[in-house]
């Protein structure tokens, strides 16, 4: 075979592999959409399940997932951003920073069900939070932290050193430089990272299974110490525990979950491009 032919084959194989990814996503979304969209109507997204969850809507689960996502971001974002500021701006390379980075990498590798078990043991039982929004958000936050720390570190490092030097040379303190120069410039990257992180968390079942999720709740939670229904767990429940449920319901639930996750990703993409345009002229 001539080098030219080999080149052509290689190019086409690589392109086919790339196309495969798009195809896989299209099939997943397509399948869910085709079976799920018929289930979608106002009643489905605005009412609680009825008749032992064989009919009705999924409103409490939608609200529950939203609350968990909000709680997760409120807990994980400040901790994650502060950690990354410490690592990038303050800490000198030492055994301590290496240890923190190692911890972050390993935290990212812990299976989500292990987080769930930890959440149950530590937040729910030991700290006596009970199965609650707080315990679930803390567990999800812990799971999201590595993503937020890594992306925030990345974002802080892309802020040119010239900005820091200029600010310090003008008599700004290190903290002022971080607050007024570094953080505003790193914010788009930090926010997109955080949103992608919680979007991932929004779809997780295992961590909330033991810490926050209720099998069935006809009403909405009143405090952060209440249990909530959540979409991923609700999906699992109706798909496996409710044999005579309308088959449209799990697909409709999956569709809503998918829309929330993809919607969050979309917000991240839009935010990023918006900030990028802002910084240009």
């Amino acid at each position: 075979m001539s080098p030219k032919t080999t080149e052509k084959i290689a190019f086409n194989v690589l392109r086919a592999m790339a196309a495969l990814i798009v195809l896989a996503l299209a099939i997943v979304i397509g399948e869910i959409a085709i079976k799920g969209i018929p289930a979608l109507n106002w009643e489905f997204i605005s009412e609680a399940p009825r008749k032992g969850m064989t009919a009705g809507g999924i409103f409490p689960a939608i609200v529950g997932t939203m609350i968990l996502v909000a709680g997760t971001i409120m807990l994980a974002l400040p901790i994650g951003v502060m950690t990354s500021i410490y690592l990038v701006e303050y800490a000198r390379e030492s055994w301590l920073t290496r240890l923190i980075r190692l911890a972050v990498v390993n935290l990212a590798g812990v299976p989500s069900v292990v987080f769930g078990l930890f959440g149950l043991g530590f937040f729910v039982l030991y700290l006596e939070m009970g199965v609650s929004i707080l315990a679930g958000s803390l567990t999800l936050a812990l799971m999201t932290l590595p993503v937020i720390i890594t992306t925030s570190e990345e974002a802080l490092r892309t802020v040119p050193n010239g900005y820091r030097e200029a600010s310090l040379a003008l008599g700004a303190t290190k903290l002022q430089t971080i607050l007024f120069i570094v953080l505003p410039n790193a914010l788009p990257g930090i926010l997109t990272g955080a949103i992608l992180g919680v979007a991932r968390a929004a779809g997780e079942t295992a961590p909330i299974l033991l810490t926050a999720a209720a099998f069935f709740l006809p009403h909405l939670p009143k405090t952060i110490f209440d249990q909530v229904m959540a979409l991923p767990y609700h999906l699992y429940v109706i798909a496996t525990q409710v044999p005579n449920a309308d088959p449209k319901i799990p697909y409709g639930t999956a569709m809503i979950l998918l829309m929330i996750v993809l919607g969050l990703n979309m917000i991240a993409v839009v935010l990023r491009s918006y900030f990028r345009r802002m910084r240009k002229v």
Binding site: R92, P160, G162, Y163, E165, A166, S167, L168, A169, L170, G171, A172, T173, Q176, F180, I181, N185, R279, K280, V281
Partner: protein, 252 residues
């Protein structure tokens, strides 16, 4: 002779084990332009960065000897670095305006140092931009992003930003090396004008530039201050053979 502004006596600087500056003795005088020249890695930028303690950023950097800025011992542990940097401004090699508006770039430091009065801020911004010979070009677009300016304008904006805290000394680290010849000329003109009010220390790779704008020239070579004298003496009748070799282009 103008009064002494910064006096360096037996100043040594180490990066870890590397001895980067060897016992520098130098007196920088008020309202003069002092040029620091020498080949890359000779220590001229390192010396410049001692004057406002920008070397503090580098963790392994260590300094001994004395460096006096009028009555302030720059490296004394009790010296307030923030206060020092308000009196010793700096302009860097590559123009580095913040990604903010032109106005906010100049107003950044005065605001930080507690000035809140809007009219006073506007006055300072206008005055600083005028001093930096940029006012006429930007007065109608003060609230546009600074990154939309040309490289030469950006560098003059950085000068305006440094002037906004009304420093006494202005340090310039190869301020024109990233600029085209026309912008370079403008900055050089500006330096000549600023000399009336400020003490200027400038690092430059361009010997013609040193000859054009400076009153005194210091020639550094591998961490030694080889020769320091009036600029015309350095460029016409240097005492040291190494200085002569360098300015005649025999090495470097």
């Amino acid at each position: 002779m103008n009064k002494a502004k910064i006096v360096s006596e037996d100043l040594n600087l180490y990066y870890g084990d590397f001895h980067a500056l060897h016992g520098i003795d130098m007196t920088i005088r008020d309202r003069e332009v002092t040029a620091l020249i020498g080949p890359s890695g000779c220590g001229k930028s390192t010396f410049l960065r001692c004057l406002n303690r920008m070397n503090d950023i580098i963790p392994i950097c260590r300094v001994d000897g004395t460096l006096m800025f009028e009555d302030t011992d720059i490296y004394a542990p009790t010296t307030d670095v923030v206060a020092l940097r308000k009196r010793v401004g700096m302009v860097f090699q590559a123009p580095n305006p913040f990604p903010k508006s032109i106005f906010d770039n100049v107003a950044y430091a005065p605001k930080l140092h507690g000035l809140k009065d809007k009219t006073k801020l506007e006055e300072i911004v206008e005055k600083s931009l005028k001093q930096a010979a940029l006012w006429d070009e930007v007065k109608d677009r003060l609230h546009k992003p600074a990154l939309g300016l040309s490289g030469g304008q950006q560098q003059r904006l950085c000068i305006a930003r440094a002037l906004a805290i009304q420093p006494e000394v202005l340090l310039m680290d190869e301020p024109t090396s990233a600029l085209d010849p026309i912008s370079t000329l403008k900055i050089e003109e500006l330096i000549r004008e600023l000399k009336a009010q400020y003490t200027i220390v400038i690092v430059t790779h361009n010997m013609q530039q040193a000859a054009r704008i400076s009153d005194k020239t210091a020639f550094f070579l591998v961490g030694d201050l080889v020769e320091f004298d009036h600029t015309e003496v350095i460029f016409t009748t240097p005492k040291d053979q190494r200085t002569e070799d360098y300015i005649t282009g025999r090495f470097g």
